[in-house]
Symmetry: C2
Subunit: 306 residues, 2 copies
């Protein structure tokens, strides 16, 4: 594809915490940015900071000179697919769509093929670093057409920390690599949670866990950003009594376990980490009711009544 | 206990990689060090670098002025217990034993009580950082008598990275905290292994995993020392074909799972990580033979013959 990014002009669709911060980072780095969001407020607010505000995807695309680059930063799945398909009606051959959401890699491949049929490039850009990274520099994994990547390499360089972007290969590989990153994160986080629960509920429950995490982050083998975050959380609230033991998941963990099953990859620790999150959210706890009922039936063990 | 460490004089029993490097670090920081090892070679070698060499534990202790401090850096379990008990016969009230090995916390409590009966202090010092940390600065978790800790705080400061030591509380808490650290390490390592195996054996097997790990260690949420080590290993040998998939364990993971069971702490991800290590070492694979035999018996599924 003859993709070029001729100017530092870009459109952003989706202005949640990530999208809005990416817009701010682009503005601070001299890009001419048109922003659009389903509800108008975030776009109007960014307009006060130098962005051009568009009321619709059609208007967003009309504001950009061909060849255009539009960055989508929406919820993965239907919202992203619908918005990209809507945009495709207004884009032309030679334009580029960058999907920075946590889309499923198979949906990236699907959209990539749909757009390629019109000569439009689609890059799947897995972004790590959270809202603070979106504002000041992310870690970005980019899959898709190599020429389209090369045409936008300056953009990825501008939005990432030093040496913080990587072209991972064909379509879907950026989102797949980001998905695996998040799956590893699930396992690391669960391991930290299990270990600290053993500290808290074991024979040495009086040890200061904030200090332990500070120490572990200083010269020990498990040092890293997640241990640093654990130390910060425990310094604010040593017993974490203000934090409910309810853990959401955003899809990537599930997709990674599904991919591991599809490709026959042993995935015990990460699977267990995902299931622990499901269990943390269950109020019904049906499976555990079954266990309690069975123990009662075969052994006469007492059942706690609700 | 009226424990003091009046001079920068210390004895070290056990000169493996960790013990020898701790001796070198002590020498570089102005300590007068007597060293002893079961086989004489390592002690003689350290003698060429400024240490005093002792042929036995008795001789080691005789070389030190009272109140003495002896650092034990032996294999955990029987070797450590035997050596500490042997030393106790020559030590006096007011002396201090520091056990820097990966001893089980219950053995630390046991030795602490035995020595306390003679007025000898026992500090359990969990040391993280590996041989390079032993040489240049470790992360040290110290349990035991508080006064004995305070008398040796300068020593722990000297042997650790900046702010790299912590008094964790009563006897056993240092080794317990180090054990939990290692258990978290098991879970983190297994998660990294599972994730990278999904990269290697999944639909995007052509992605450069050394570059991915370098990227992940740069601005992403899972950044940290273990991801850095993964990048280094993959840069040397991208397919890791020179590394057998055989993973040892040193005890702490087992003790942590046992402690989790004893105290009723959910430990799914870390337990799974430990069992994967067992499985990695099995050549007999008896359980999997049973599964294959059962599938053959009930479904006529073909059995691979050896």
């Amino acid at each position: 594809m003859g993709i070029r990014m001729i100017s530092k002009e870009i459109g952003i669709a989706g202005l949640g915490k990530m999208g809005a911060n990416i817009a701010l980072q682009m503005l601070s780095k001299g890009y001419v940015v048109t922003v659009q969001n389903r509800s108008r407020g975030p776009a109007d607010e960014l307009a006060t900071k130098g962005a051009r505000s568009a009321a619709s995807i059609e208007e967003l695309i009309a504001s950009l000179k061909h060849p255009r680059t539009v960055w989508f930063m929406l919820t993965a799945g239907k919202p992203t697919i619908d918005a990209v398909r809507e945009a495709a009606a207004y884009l032309q051959s030679g334009d580029t769509v960058i999907d920075g959401s946590n889309s499923h890699y198979n949906e990236s491949v699907m959209l990539s093929r749909e757009l390629a049929a019109k000569g439009i490039a689609y890059l799947d850009a897995g972004c790590s670093g959270g809202p603070s990274g979106a504002l000041s520099g992310m870690s970005i994994m980019v899959g898709g057409d190599r020429k389209a990547f090369e045409a936008h390499e300056g953009l990825f360089r501008d939005l990432s920390v030093t040496d913080g972007y990587l072209y991972t290969g064909r379509s879907g590989s950026g989102h797949f690599t980001k998905m695996v990153h998040n799956a590893i994160e699930y396992g690391m986080m669960e391991s930290i949670g299990e270990g600290l629960e053993l500290m808290e509920d074991g024979p040495y429950s009086d040890v200061d866990l904030a200090k332990v995490c500070r120490l572990w982050n200083n010269g020990s083998v498990i040092r890293g950003y997640l241990i640093e975050l654990a130390a910060r959380a425990l310094e604010k609230d040593p017993k974490l009594s203000s934090v409910a033991p309810y853990v959401e998941d955003n899809g990537e963990g599930r997709w990674a376990v599904q991919a591991a099953v599809e490709h026959g990859v042993p995935f015990g620790a990460i699977s267990s980490s995902l299931y622990e999150r499901f269990g943390s959210r269950s109020t019904k706890r049906y499976g555990k009711r079954v266990l309690a009922a069975l123990r009662h039936e075969f052994g006469g063990h007492e059942v706690k009544r609700e």
